[in-house]
């Protein structure tokens, strides 16, 4: 690989006619400038102009964006919504926890008004959810689990053992064999043992 | 202290490791992390020291000022401590967030250091009952990764060793009013005898064993810890139990013995290092944070 060029914030990389600005760059007066300190990467994406971006060794902090699948931990529930702490965005762990809310009507796709949060989540559960909104002044990130692949992934029973999912709405404790209600995420077929 | 979240599985892993005398970074239960000490880093002060113990960074500055001695002990000077938990360590310390921890740390430091057995307070006296030297010891916490007390105490010892107090001449004029003159020569100064200054050793109880120099993760697995201040002779000057859990007397005795051993072993290499640094004199390259 040819040695990559170093760049620092504010350095002019090229003009808008040569490339499309990518990550780590910004436009000003018809030229593309770097906004990070790192290496310049030019990637050819087919017939269009190459995308120019700046890469760093260490990834900067990622923020949850609309449409991203996030892994979160339930902190408290009440009849109208469940409050969660967002721990991972995709597969990148976050350094600092972000707060999110899963409203009652966003738990399931069907029979939204018959949902009881107590029977869908419990504090301490690990949940896969999708971000639907960044929220406004009062609220936190709004999340939804209204898809088959979203919902509770790991939950502990009242006896303290990790439960096994048996259907989309029930999980069973291996120790006491008691069944508890949760909105369970469907396991991807590639993770099931044949 | 800035807390770190540790999951159940991690806790079990750490406790099993400690049981077999193997910690997360490969150390034994009574080993310290890599320590770097440098004195005379800040030139505005009369003495300063910087220590980094793993990821814990502490900067201590000592300033000597003339003040009035306390009424009960008119022929002794005294030390004043101030611990500043800066926001650099963690954003929770912004504004007044770090005050609570700072007050707790400085109260413990008063108990350990501000007595005549640790520091020769009589040498700080200028005029009994009227003037004495007050040493303001300011501790600045820059990075926090567990084991703050140990790092602070070693830094204080190094800073006190490095402190140069200007010599004072007292002259009396005809009316009997005493005049204090500080000598202008920067090399004409008094040094403190830090032989008896103790070092604090914190032992955390993890499972059934205790560990020295716990990181934040190990601290999250322990329920109680014991703080012992030990002099170079192995004498224990102050013992304090911290934390919410309870310890049974046997383990306290065990931990005290271990603390004495570890603490005694700290002093000799420290003094050797400080003497060596001092002997380099002007030729020494000051590194500070640039290295």
């Amino acid at each position: 690989m040819s040695p990559m060029k170093l760049c620092v914030p504010g350095e002019r990389l090229c003009s808008t006619e040569d490339c499309i600005p990518g990550n780590g760059t910004y436009l000003r007066h018809g030229s593309i400038f770097a906004s990070l300190a790192g290496y310049v990467l030019r990637k050819n994406e087919g017939e269009e102009l190459p995308v120019i971006s700046v890469v760093r060794e260490t990834e900067a902090q990622l923020l949850p964006d609309v449409g991203a699948i996030v892994t979160c931990k339930v902190t408290s529930i009440n009849p109208r919504f469940a409050k969660v702490h967002i721990l991972y965005v995709g597969s990148t762990p976050l350094k600092d926890r972000f707060r999110g809310t899963i409203r009652r009507e966003d738990v399931r796709a069907t029979e939204k008004d018959k949902v009881e949060t107590y029977k869908s989540f419990r504090p301490g559960d690990i949940v896969l959810a999708k971000v639907i909104s960044l929220g406004d002044v009062q609220s936190n990130y709004l999340l939804t689990t209204a898809e088959n692949e979203l919902g509770v992934v790991v939950a502990h029973s009242e006896a303290g053992a990790q439960m096994v999912p048996i259907s989309w709405c029930e999980m069973q404790c291996p120790r006491t064999h008691a069944k508890e209600f949760r909105k369970v995420a469907r396991v991807q077929p590639e993770y099931l043992q044949a | 202290m800035a807390a770190v979240q540790v999951s159940e599985a991690e806790k079990v892993y750490i406790m099993h490791g400690v049981r077999d005398d193997l910690r997360l970074d490969g150390r034994g239960c009574e080993d310290y992390r890599h320590m770097e000490i440098e004195t005379d880093v800040v030139s505005n002060t009369d003495g300063s020291a910087k220590i980094s113990l793993g990821h814990t960074d502490v900067l201590v500055g000592v300033k000597a000022e003339i003040g009035k001695p306390r009424a009960m002990v008119p022929d002794e000077g005294y030390l004043e401590f101030f611990v500043d938990c800066s926001a650099n360590a963690t954003p929770e310390f912004e504004g007044r967030g770090g005050e609570e921890l700072g007050v707790e740390l400085s109260n413990t430091l008063y108990k350990v250091f501000n007595n005549r057995h640790s520091v020769d307070l009589r040498s700080l006296c200028i005029c009994p009952g009227e003037n004495c030297w007050v040493l303001y010891v300011d501790v600045l916490l820059l990075q926090c990764d567990g084991n703050l007390f140990d790092a602070i105490s070693i830094a204080i010892k190094a800073a006190l060793f490095n402190t140069r107090i200007p010599k004072v001449h007292i002259s009396e004029d005809e009316e009997g009013v005493k005049e204090i003159e500080l000598s202008d020569d920067p090399y004409d100064c008094m040094r403190l005898n830090v032989e008896n200054v103790p070092c604090i050793v914190t032992l955390c109880k993890v499972g059934h064993r205790h560990v020295v120099d716990a990181t934040l993760q190990e601290k999250a697995c322990s329920v109680a810890s014991l703080l012992i201040s030990v002099t170079h002779r192995g004498t224990v000057t102050c013992v304090r139990k911290m934390g919410g859990g309870s310890l049974d007397p046997e383990s306290i005795f065990e931990m005290t013995e271990a603390g004495k051993r570890v603490g005694k072993a700290l002093h000799a290499p420290l003094m050797e290092l400080l003497q060596k640094e001092e002997s380099l004199g002007k030729k020494r390259q000051k590194v500070g944070f640039l290295g």
């Binding site: 902090q61 926890r97 960044l134 | 990821h55 800066s86 650099n88 300011d138 990075q143 500070g288």
Partner: protein, 245 residues
């Protein structure tokens, strides 16, 4: 201070520098491993330490967050042993709050905050030793820390002070020159575009001299930006050598 001239007849200042000469600048980034970005900078005898955390969720009340931009939160504090006379309170006094506000204003002009809506970027600066040019050292150290943290910025922000004595502009004032009672101008500049992020001047000055003073400060800032640039490039090369196969 009778008899001490700020500028001698031969053109030398109190510490032996010429009128437009800057003090020696040494800096290092990534000083602390636990913070997102950190830097240490020495400008003569002034030592500043800057630490950056973020971007992360808005701490405290959620109402402080902005819907389309990140909030920049700065805190300026001085170590109690940094000045010749011991300072009782490291932060919280009026001067520190004013400096924190200036820093916030400076960096809002440079950081691309539109990329991080509803989040907060914390910049904490600490002065370990104060010998004039506190604000400039803070800004320079904070710039390095932001670059180290990987937060996108339009350009470097370089700051410098300038003064005016007997029709000659002086660049990079030390403590004695600042407190001498003459003019003192603090300027924060984005070097490549030439835009000024912050301009502050105390004391009286004839308006004919203002241009010359600002020119002197801008030249000093451009010189400083070269030094900061070198430090960043050197650090990048060091890191890449370590991570390359």
């Amino acid at each position: 201070m009778a008899g001490l001239e700020l500028l001698s007849d031969q053109g030398y200042r109190l510490d032996g520098r010429k009128a437009t000469e800057l003090r020696k600048v040494q800096a290092r980034t990534s000083v602390f491993a636990q913070a997102d970005g950190s830097a240490y900078l020495e400008q003569g005898n002034t030592k500043a330490l800057a630490v950056v955390y973020g971007p992360h969720e808005t701490r405290g009340s959620r109402s402080k967050s902005l819907h389309d931009r990140a909030v920049i939160n700065c805190q300026f504090s001085m170590a109690t042993f940094s000045t010749a006379e011991r300072k009782r309170r490291p932060h919280g006094d009026r001067k520190s709050s004013e400096m924190s506000l200036h820093l916030k204003q400076t960096f809002e002009a440079a950081v691309l905050t539109e990329l991080y809506p509803r989040s907060q970027i914390d910049i904490y600066v600490k002065i370990l030793q104060a010998d004039g040019g506190n604000y400039s050292a803070c800004v320079n150290a904070a710039t390095l820390a932001l670059v180290d943290a990987g937060i996108p910025m339009r350009d470097y922000v370089c700051a410098c002070t300038a003064g005016f004595v007997e029709d000659t502009p002086l660049a990079d004032l030390c403590h004695a020159e600042e407190s001498g009672g003459g003019t003192s101008l603090a300027l924060a500049l984005l070097p490549r575009s030439g835009n000024i992020a912050l301009l502050q001047m105390d004391a009286r000055l004839h308006q004919d001299h203002l241009d010359a003073l600002i020119e002197a400060a801008m030249t000093a800032c451009k010189g400083l930006s070269k030094v900061l640039d070198d430090v960043v490039r050197q650090h990048l090369e060091e890191v890449s050598v370590l991570t390359r196969d």
